[in-house]
Amino acid sequence: MPKRKVAALEKVEADLVNLQYKIRRDPKSYAQEFYDQWLAYDAQRQIFVSSPATASSDDVKKFHDLVDLVAHVADLYPDLTASYPDHLKELLNRHHATLDKELREKIVGSLTLLRRKDVIDSTSLLTTLFPILISTPSKTLRSLLYTKIISDLRESNSKSTNHRLNRTIQTVLHNLVTSDRTSTKGMWATRITRELWRRQIWTDAKPCDVMKEACLSDNEKVVVGGVRFFLGGDKAREEMEDDSSDDEVDMKKLKHQSGINKKTKKRQKALGKAVEKVKKQERKKNAPHPLNFSALHLIHDPQGFAEKLFQKHLQNTKNRFSLENKLQILQLVTRLVGLHKLTIISLYSWFARYLTPKQPSVTSFLASLAQGTHNLVPPDAIEPLIVKIANEFVSEAAASEVAAAGINAIREVAIRQPLCMNETLLQDLVLYQRSKDKGVVMAAKGLQSLYREVYPELLQKKYRGKEATMGLKSGETKQWKFGEEEVGGIEGIELLEKYKEEQKEKKMAERVGEDGEPKDDDEEDDGFHSDEWEIGSSDSDDSSTGWINVSDSEDDEPAPKRTKTDPEAPELVDEDKENAEAEANRISKLATTTILTPADLLKLQELRREANIDKAMGNTSKRKKELIARHIDEGVTADDIELPAQLGKKSTKEERVALAKDGKPGREEHKSTQAIRKSKKEAEGKSTTNKEKSRKKNFLMTIGKARAKNKRSLVDTKKALKAHIARSKSGGRRANGT
């Protein structure tokens, strides 16, 4: 008797996948079947819960499959499966440590699936997953949960920012960091916050607060996580943005391909997706750039934070953090000090211990010192440090790199606070430009040129240079006192004012030419020129005079001179009145007397750009300011300090070889350049040329033609040759040239 064939549905193996497919096609008709499976799930769950640790692999497998089925169709039977999410949560909470690996992953996956189907909300999902993420000993589960949490937060913030959810999670993270400061659990708070910051999902002050608390933790890992965030989080964010804009789709190519390739649904769909992506990118490009503040700017109470950080992790002698981590903390503290112009006096005396050439990674310390200096730091606090650097690093006995680094460090500090230097020391240091080492020479010259600009009196006369001497004589070079701030304004406003005056004169001249008599400007200008408020609509070259003059008689007076109102600075007043007056006159009144339109601002930008170009062409008087601006944005690194020492160094052979190899094709084996190019072309999926094809052609296929060619008559040969020449002249068979 032949063996009986088993029909597909009769198979003993439960075909849950098939059932799931049917249920999703027609949930009403298969309600009964689902109910059966729900009961089966319930029974298996009970078996499992009664002894989760000793459950047989068979039971686990069955339960796994049923969990999967129910999760996929739970949204179709909300009444029946109301308790399902709670079951899963309870299972995960109670038994996550002992559960079978696959089953555990399935449960996590099912919960996220339920979230996607909107059966449960994000908050309940995240509050379930998060405690497990922190407590579980399993690495795989942690990484799974981490990705799920991040992706869920991304999802729920994708359409519009879900403030409520974000607030909840941020509070949870904040509590996690602050509740137990010694545990490593805060790591997860830092990791999650950092990731979401990088993806620009969280951009406000609350995550910064979480990180701030992380920095003040007792656990080294958590602290480093927080510190790294402040030092590098914004850069990571920018890089991420650049990356996302990188993967552009070549629309032209895709369209061309879709015209040639076989038309399938899959390809059509891919093309549609690509089109959508391109459109999205376009929209993104046109959308206004989100104004995201850097994390360092969003810190609440930076003074208190920097002080605490310094006292807790650096000043505290019991602290046992590694040097590398301490340096990172120091970098953050000094960064904050420099950026927010904070005052932590004890910081500078603390530095003294570390400023010796034997100290490991001393250049980082020097860089941090420079970073932590600003014009409001009392010179008395820094001067001993400068002296110490000079004594320890800069001497004839010291190695040239050390001396160069020392002088450069002094220069970096002096850029920010020029008053920290005394005359003898500076003169001594400047003399190092006679050294034999190029690095030392460059560093010393740098210091000299800096002081030529900021404080030429300190230099010996012969080192002052022409401009500084002339400036001193004419009184143009102004000596700033401690605590004095440059009177600020809008950069380039004087350019705009000048430009406007020119325009006005031009117009007057025109009018005189037309009407014979000049008209009163004010009457005409009193009307509201609405077109000026739209940047594109007006030609900014000719109609900029149309400005409502909001000034009345009081405003027309020159702005009060600040230098005179300050009675506690008698020296300044005495110094030279003329100078102060000239300064006051220089500050443009335009911004205080009128309202600038967008058109004006645009023009201002243009003028500023032009001025910058002028500067780049040769006029380098503002170099110092640019330097400072750069440093405030980016901070000083050890590389900046070490840079002059690298000058004049001969590179090693390896470096030269690496430099020569840079940008050339990789050559693992001995191969000709041609062969490398060919293989690269093949790897890119490009086609071969006709020549290459003919070269590869099977010999037996060509032999017949070759024989026939030999047998041709002379006339035929001549014809063929002539035709060949004519063809090559006209650009080949396809006449490409014509």
Binding site: L9, E10, K11, V12, E13, A14, D15, L16, L19, K28, S29, A31, Q32, E33, Y35, D36, Q37, L39, A40, D42, A43, Q44, Q46, I47, S50, T54, S56, D58, D59, K62, Y77, D79, L80, E90
Partner: protein, 331 residues
């Protein structure tokens, strides 16, 4: 021509002497075995199955583990047969105890092989009833899982297990936590007499979903249904059995206070340590409570289903008549 040349060369190669060269290692022999690696453990693919020289207890345990882990159906079946023999021998040889056997073998209720399942039932029947009674709750879980299995045959076999359980420990079955309502759920889903699905679906069309259950699909439909109704009748009969009042025991009061209880988990109804139970998994220890909950939840559905079955006549009708008798008893 070419091939013969090739063959000649190959032949020649066999008899060529390997040349030794200065500074070069000797060529490896053709049968060289690499022994440079170290291994932490070795997996043996075949296992010795000879039973000689193994004592009885050891052999029993070996067979017990074989009954679950063996990949081949025949091996599982044979192991189960061996275990049954050992248990039913006089005196019974059971070195691990009934509890261990049950925990190990219960997953086999939904085994894929039919012979294994029948053997398993035979083994269960060989177990002493008094030792089965404490484990009723656990057995019932697996029986319910079997009764709701997708495969028809497994469900029918699970009914056999249910029947055995009712014979051996009927009172425990109906009174253990979840034993009454959850089992009724399983029965109703088998028979398709289901009040809760309709409400869950809240279908509002003028047609209702077809009443096909998984049981009705096969050729053996009526037989299977008849069997289901029979076991359900049995189950209800046990549940509605009039309680006999125990004769007065003057020491019962003091025993209750000072003696150790004779039954496992005597305070189960208080559910001191477990998770809170819902209505389905609650225990209904006495007849009135069972009756009450049955009337509230199942009476309508079962009566309706029963009427339908009665009208079909034949074996199904007869079974339904038996069921109605039991229901009358419950009133």
């Amino acid at each position: 021509m070419g091939s013969s040349n090739k063959k000649k060369k190959e032949k020649k190669k066999d008899f060529q002497k390997a040349k030794l060269k200065v500074g070069k290692a000797k060529a490896k022999a053709a049968n060289f075995t690499d022994t440079s690696f170290k291994s932490k453990f070795i997996t043996v693919n075949q296992q010795a199955i000879s039973a000689e020289g193994v004592d009885a207890a050891e052999q029993f345990k070996q067979n017990l583990s074989l009954a679950i882990t063996a990949k081949s159906d025949n091996q599982r079946r044979d192991a189960l047969a061996f275990l049954t023999n050992q248990i039913s021998a006089t005196p019974p040889n059971n070195p691990v105890g009934t509890s261990a056997i049950l925990t190990k073998l219960l997953p086999l209720i939904s085994d894929t092989s039919a012979t294994v399942r029948t053997r398993l039932l035979a083994l269960f029947r060989a177990l002493p009833p008094s030792e089965v009674q404490p484990h009723v709750e656990k057995i019932l879980m697996y029986a319910r899982a079997g009764m709701t299995h997708m495969s028809n045959i497994i469900r029918t076999d699970a009914l056999n297990v249910m029947e055995w359980l009712l014979e051996v420990a009927g009172d425990e079955v109906v009174s253990c936590p979840g034993g009454w309502l959850k089992t009724l759920n399983s029965f109703s889903s088998m028979l398709g007499w289901n009040p809760s699905v309709g409400s869950a679906l809240s279908s509002q069309g003028w047609t209702s979903a077809s009443k096909t259950t998984l049981g009705a699909g096969s050729k053996k439909g009526p037989e299977a249904q008849c069997r289901q109704i029979q076991v359900l009748t049995q189950f209800l009969a046990v549940g509605f059995k009039p309680e006999t009042s125990e004769p007065y025991n003057p020491r019962a009061y003091w025993d209750n206070i000072y003696r150790l209880p004779g039954t496992p988990n005597p305070f189960a109804h208080l559910n001191l340590f477990g998770t809170p139970r819902d209505e389905d998994s609650e225990m209904y220890p006495d007849r009135p409570s069972r009756q009450r909950v049955f009337d509230a939840k199942w009476k309508g559905a079962i009566a309706a289903g029963m009427d339908g079955a009665r009208k079909e006549g034949g074996t199904v009708g007869r079974a339904a008549a038996g069921l109605s008798k039991v229901l009358d008893l419950g009133k």
